[in-house]
C-alpha cells in the first residue's frame, strides 16, 4: 500500500500503489473517479477511468476534451503542490493544452506532471496525458500556478 500518508492541503502527498488513491478531498475529482498514483517532489501521476457519462462525441464514444483538461489541470496542480514546503494551496493562473489525438474509448487516461521550476510565488508545470505509453501522448499541457496565501484570492 502507500509508503507515506501525510495529508497536506487538499492533495495527499506520497506514493501509492498502482490502483492509486481516490482524490476524495476534491469533490469534482472524486466524482469523475480521478486517482492519484504518485505525488512527490514535484512529480505527480494521476488517472481517470473511462466513463460513459464523460463522453463528448456520442457517435464514437470518445471522452470529452474537457475531461482531459480537468485531469491535466489537477495533475499539474498536484505536481506544484508536492514541491512546496511548507505545503499550501495552489491556484491555476493559466493552462495551455495541445490535443494530439483522441482518447481511445474504454481506456483509462493517465497524466504525468512535473513542476520544473518553483519560484517564491509561482510554480511552472508541464504534463502529458496518455493511455499506456507517455511517448504516444493524447495531449500535453503547460501551466503556471500561484501558490501561498495569494492562491486563495
Amino acid at each position: 500500500m502507500s509508503e507515506t500518508r501525510e495529508t497536506a492541503g487538499l492533495f495527499p502527498v506520497g506514493k501509492y500503489d498502482a490502483e492509486g488513491k481516490l482524490l476524495s478531498g476534491l469533490p469534482h475529482s472524486a466524482e469523475i473517479g480521478m486517482r492519484i498514483h504518485l505525488s512527490h517532489d514535484g512529480v505527480a501521476v494521476l488517472s481517470v477511468p473511462y466513463d460513459a457519462r464523460l463522453v463528448g462525441d456520442p457517435e464514437s464514444g470518445v471522452l470529452h476534451g474537457g475531461v482531459v483538461t480537468a485531469l491535466l489541470d489537477t495533475a499539474c496542480g498536484s505536481a506544484v503542490m508536492s514541491k512546496l514546503s511548507p505545503k499550501g494551496p495552489v491556484a491555476t493562473l493559466d493552462l495551455r493544452i495541445d490535443y494530439m489525438r483522441p482518447a481511445t474509448p474504454g481506456a483509462t487516461v493517465t497524466a504525468r506532471a512535473e513542476c520544473y521550476r518553483l519560484t517564491r510565488n509561482i510554480g511552472f508545470a508541464r504534463a502529458v496525458a496518455y493511455h499506456d505509453d507517455p511517448e504516444s501522448p493524447i495531449a500535453s499541457a503547460a501551466g503556471a500556478f500561484i501558490h501561498g496565501q495569494r492562491a486563495s484570492e
Partner: protein
C-alpha cells in the same frame, strides 16, 4: 401575412428544438449540468452550480478543470451551432435531420489556452464564445466565462478547433 408569421414561428421552434438536441446529445454536457440559451443566433452557455463541481471545498471554489471544460464546451458548441444554423437556413432534408437532433459534425480541439482570472464561486456560470476566424480547416475561437457580473470574467479561453470534414 399570417402564413409568413406562422412560418417564422415554425422556424424559431425548429431552431429551439435543434439547439436543445445539440446540447443534450453529449453525455458530458448532462454530467456537468451545461445548457444553452439563445437570442436569435447568439448563444450563451450556462453551467448550473452543483457541489459535484467543486475543486476546493474550503473556499469553496469551482474545480479549475470544470471551468476549463465549460469554456471548451462553449467554444465547441458555438462552432457546432453555427453549422446547424447554416444547415437550417438552407432547408431541405439535412435541415430536417438536424432539427431531429441528428448532428455528427462536432469540431475537435487542436489546442486551447485558458486564463484563470478569478476563482469560480459556488453559483451558476455563463459563457459566450466569439469565433474570431473560421477557416476551411481550422477555427480560432475566444470564450469568456462570468458569474454574476459580465464585466468580471472568471476565466477566458482561446483556442483552435479542427472543423469536421477537413
Amino acid at each position: 401575412m399570417n402564413d409568413r408569421l406562422e412560418a417564422a414561428a415554425r422556424l424559431e421552434d425548429a431552431r429551439d428544438a435543434a439547439l436543445a438536441a445539440l446540447g443534450e446529445a453529449v453525455p458530458y454536457h448532462r454530467f456537468l449540468g451545461v445548457g444553452f440559451e439563445r437570442l436569435g443566433d447568439e448563444l450563451t452557455a450556462r453551467l448550473e452550480y452543483s457541489e459535484r463541481l467543486v475543486g476546493n471545498p474550503i473556499l469553496p471554489a469551482l474545480h479549475g478543470g470544470v471551468t476549463g471544460a465549460f469554456l471548451e464546451i462553449a467554444a465547441i458548441t458555438q462552432l457546432a451551432w453555427d453549422r446547424v444554423w447554416e444547415i437550417m437556413q438552407k432547408g431541405g432534408p439535412e435541415a430536417e435531420a438536424v432539427a431531429r437532433g441528428e448532428f455528427r459534425q462536432w469540431p475537435k480541439p487542436v489546442d486551447i489556452s485558458i486564463d484563470y482570472l478569478r476563482s469560480g464561486r459556488p453559483r451558476d456560470t455563463y459563457a459566450r464564445a466569439h469565433v474570431v476566424k473560421k477557416g476551411r480547416r481550422v477555427a480560432n475561437v475566444r470564450v469568456e466565462a462570468w458569474q454574476e457580473e459580465r464585466a468580471r470574467p472568471i476565466a477566458a479561453l482561446h483556442g483552435h478547433f479542427l472543423m469536421p470534414g477537413a
